[in-house]
Symmetry: C2
Subunit: 193 residues, 2 copies
DNA sequence: GTCTATACGAAGATAGAC
DNA sequence: GTCTATCTTCGTATAGAC
């Protein structure tokens, strides 16, 4: 039977998914077990059965799950188009997320990076690095020298994450659109040389 | 007597200053009154005397105080040199802050933007906007067209704030240095055209 | 795996004395 | 302005039954 031990279903997965949603909205410190249980509908008695290390473990697994999901999304759009097209596609996803959530849901990796769980903080650090590598590799394929591709990828990830923070604080997608347009100019100049 | 009603001294100012420090390290939600009292040495009985609206008020005033302080710093470096020089000067300040705090203290405005107090969130939004305007004005003086200056300033603020988050998560100032170097290239290209 | 009950501490906030 | 005491709610975590 294929559904046995399916890590994407069941109360455990539901709790992780809810933790991601709530952390995006309120941050790590303000997300409690009670919130996660109410949001996921998971049974009360199974928290420390599924997560023996308690909140640290839940937050770490939620951060890792969000990192994996977002990382797959980045890989997918980088495979489908060029760097500039990928930038636009990613901005579209975030723009929609802001509009449908009323600017309540931000990036879960930023929330983890600034949160109260050291384990999750360090997962956020390596996640940013992974994203930079994916983008740098793509830029290299497009003809950018490896040193420049590496530093440009750091600018892209930083600017995008910063734009999400600014956009959320201002309740407007304009900063995000502006930053993507500026990054497009930089990428084009770097590729065509 | 000149020290009468001095808003920069006394228990009230000490509490605001401590709140800024603690919010930078732990975020808004994880910063409690007990923490602020212990850190500032302020008397316990005066919390709701000085801040009748409680934690919301303290966090809002702390965010505004930090915004004013940082805004004056930005104005100062923009007056002293050109945009590129200001970028380097600001990066120096943050680099030192990370190194002396063991990468514990981040940007208080980002913390407010992602925190649990709506009032402070909105102060963060207008603060980002103020910084963008300051930088855009400087770029205009340096010969950049006003539309481009405006969008470039959004890139600069977003990339800088994003770089702070990435640098803190990775426990390294390298992302900050890399982003500033990339922003320098963009600024030079925009000015000399 | 899930339940209830509970321990234990900390949070924000208020009341009234000094 | 500052104190102590207290209220109430909520947080994480554990114990032991089912």
């Amino acid at each position: 039977m294929a559904t046995k031990h399916d890590p994407t279903s069941g109360p455990r997965a539901a709790m992780i998914g809810s933790a991601v949603d709530l952390i995006r909205e309120r941050g790590v410190a303000a997300t409690s077990f009670a919130d996660v249980l109410a949001h996921s509908g998971a049974p009360r008695g199974s928290i420390y059965h599924h997560f023996p290390r308690g909140k640290s473990q839940l937050v770490e697994e939620a951060t890792q799950a969000a990192a994996d999901r977002l990382g797959r999304g980045v890989e997918r759009v980088l495979d489908a188009t060029d760097t500039v097209g990928a930038l636009r596609a990613l901005a579209d996803v975030w723009r929609r997320g802001f509009e449908t959530s009323g600017y309540r849901a931000g990036c879960p990796i930023v929330a983890a990076a600034l949160g109260t769980e050291p384990g999750a903080r360090s997962i956020a650090g390596t996640t940013f690095d992974t994203w930079c590598s994916l983008i740098a590799t793509k830029l290299t394929v497009e003809g950018v020298g490896s040193a420049r591709a590496s530093s440009l990828s750091v600018l892209i990830v930083s600017a995008l994450e910063g734009a999400l923070v600014v956009a959320q604080a201002q309740g407007s997608t304009t900063p995000l659109d502006t930053v993507v347009a500026e990054l497009e100019l930089v990428c084009r100049a770097a590729v065509s040389r």
